[in-house]
């Protein structure tokens, strides 16, 4: 079902002129109100009024995640704080998180886009949405929640964790839709089986799954094990949260990117140049309706391509191909974003630990596992087992408390960690995506 017929099927030319109008308005606002953008535009020698066509956007500089950190917490906000009604922050950073603020209108737009996304996934009024995305600073839980209410479906605000209870509620309440990470959906299926329950016989019919990379074969496994349609959803807190793009249930092929609210560009991550139409590259997003914290040419680091061919569902918005990877070394472990450098800075805080480490990511029983291998140098070595075990326990605790990631710490002999071409290979990802 199409939630907003007028905007979702807007002819391409009309959509483009709407984008340009909204882009120009956004640029004027950020230039006037956000010193960071004024400075960046001035440095690039471009003034907002010189942006006369959508392609002119390419003349503007990129915005990076680091820019958000540098302007922590409110430096990139384009409205006075009294107009902000909600604050969220990104997960998994050692230092300062990246903060996003929403005005009342931003929340309304977000709810609209999530309602659209639910509808595109075949969800409607009368459905019972079991929302297992985390509620809190993370945008997933509340983003999906507001969209579900806007749609008029019944939402169960489960949040994450407590799997047994999730299964009981899902069965007893007759949940028809599950929102969670793809790996958690499989975990639920297994946990249900352990309780002697067949999740395939539950009322579930759709899963709206995102916040981590997954593949077509995982989709088939999920659809088979849970007896549902598994729909890929995309979003990131810097831009909005969930609801930036979603697959339609009709095609399940590429994620419709809500082009009346965002502009997508695909660039070569090395050169920064926009690639040829349909080519793969890094997704760069500009928000064109956001008031609280507009983003101009934000580098998502996600690798994808734009599909321009019309979709059988009738929506005119172009599609993003399923994300195929990252242009940086960010890992997504159980939905939490982790950079190897963050683990490194935790290790550096532990006395005697050298920055010689390796991260091994795997998937056991459908849950991501992280093993941090730390080299035992003479500074930390002891002839007593207890001392070494306390050391690895201390590292494990620090990583848990600073990054909120459960890991296993393995002490290894020096130089067993492969050094390749002067640059250490930090990450071994054994997960089959």
């Amino acid at each position: 079902m199409i939630w907003n017929d007028e905007f979702e099927t807007l002819p391409r030319e009309a959509l483009a002129s709407l984008q340009l109008k909204r882009l120009q308005h956004t640029l004027e606002r950020v230039y006037a109100r956000v010193p960071f953008y004024r400075q960046a535009f001035d440095q690039a020698g471009v003034r907002p009024e010189q942006i006369k066509r959508l392609e002119d956007l390419q003349r503007l500089p990129f915005t990076l995640k680091q820019d958000m950190r540098d302007n922590y917490p409110y430096g990139l906000f384009a409205v006075p704080l009294e107009q902000i009604v909600r604050l969220h922050a990104s997960s998994g950073t050692t230092g300062k998180p990246t903060v996003v603020g929403y005005t009342r209108r931003d929340i309304d737009n977000w709810s609209e886009l999530m309602a659209r996304s639910f509808a595109a996934a075949g969800v409607a009024r009368g459905d019972i949405i079991h929302n297992a995305y985390g509620y809190g600073l993370f945008t997933g839980g509340l983003g999906a929640h507001y969209g579900a209410e806007k749609l008029g479906a019944a939402v169960i605000p489960m949040s994450g964790g407590n799997t047994k209870k999730q299964i009981m509620i899902m069965q007893d309440f007759g949940s028809t839709v599950i929102t969670c990470t793809p790996s958690y959906s499989l975990y639920l299926a297994e946990a249900a089986a352990e309780e002697g329950l067949d999740i395939r016989s539950f009322a579930l019919r759709v899963g709206i799954l995102g916040a981590e990379p997954w593949s077509e074969s995982i989709r088939q496994e999920i659809e088979q094990k849970l007896n549902i349609k598994a729909i890929d959803i995309y979003g990131l807190s810097e831009i909005l949260g969930p609801g930036v793009a979603i697959e339609c249930i009709e095609a399940q092929n590429g994620l419709h990117f809500w082009e009346d609210h965002f502009i997508a560009e695909i660039i070569d991550p090395q050169s920064g140049e926009v690639v040829a139409d349909g080519d793969e590259g890094e997704l760069v997003i500009t928000t064109i309706t956001k008031e609280g914290i507009p983003m101009i040419r934000y580098r998502t680091r996600d690798i994808t391509r734009l599909i321009s061919e019309p979709c059988i569902c009738g929506r005119s918005h172009r599609r993003l191909q399923r994300m195929s990877g990252r242009s940086d070394d960010m890992l997504i472990i159980r939905g939490v974003n982790v950079f190897p450098s963050q683990i490194e800075s935790v290790l550096m805080q532990v006395e005697g630990v050298e920055p010689h480490y390796q991260l091994v990511v795997d998937r056991e029983d459908n849950l991501d596992t992280l093993e941090v291998q730390v080299e035992v140098t003479e500074d930390i070595f002891s002839d007593e087992v207890r001392v070494l075990q306390e050391l690895s326990e201390r590292i494990r605790r620090e990583i848990k408390s600073l990054l909120n990631i459960t890991c296993k710490v393995r002490l290894v002999e020096p130089k067993t960690i492969t050094r390749s071409e002067g640059k250490a290979k930090r990450v071994i990802d054994l997960r089959k995506m």
Partner: protein, 143 residues
């Protein structure tokens, strides 16, 4: 009166222990006593050898993480209650034992126990007070 013990970090990896002992053998170093403490991920090989300094160097050259610690070699009568008696002395003196391991002296009446204490000096004094024989390093290396 302490004896130098060489400890080596050994990863739980096939053949690693063989490589460690082979490195020593090639250098003509003789092992007097050893113990291996193990966990699921790693082990700590503890050795008493005839030439500790050289052994340490050999291990370091082979890329092992190696350390030298002071331990105490105690002569224990090779008969029932021999060790129990020693431990009782230590207990009465409130001396904590981190770990210990034994080796039997060839053609002798005695066993030798290697003790790792937090405070070796105090432990040696307490043992000698009660007439227990603590062996000199040279005596142990040359066995």
């Amino acid at each position: 009166m302490t004896v130098q013990q060489i400890s080596v970090f050994i990863e739980n990896r096939r053949g690693r222990l063989a490589e460690a002992t082979q490195a020593l053998g090639m250098a003509g170093i003789n092992i007097r006593a050893l113990s291996l403490a193990e966990t699921s991920d790693f082990g700590i090989l503890r050795l008493i050898v005839d030439r500790p300094d050289q052994a340490k160097q050999v291990f370091a050259e082979q890329g092992f993480t190696v350390d030298k610690t002071d331990v105490v070699a105690v002569q224990v009568p090779d008969r029932p209650m021999g060790l129990a008696h020693i431990l009782q002395i230590l207990d009465e003196a409130r001396i904590a034992v981190e770990y210990l391991y034994a080796f039997i002296e060839r053609c002798g009446e005695n066993a030798i126990i290697i003790f790792r204490f937090d405070d070796s000096r105090q432990a040696i004094a307490s043992l000698q007070d009660r007439g227990v024989k603590v062996l000199a390093a040279e005596a142990v290396y040359g066995m």
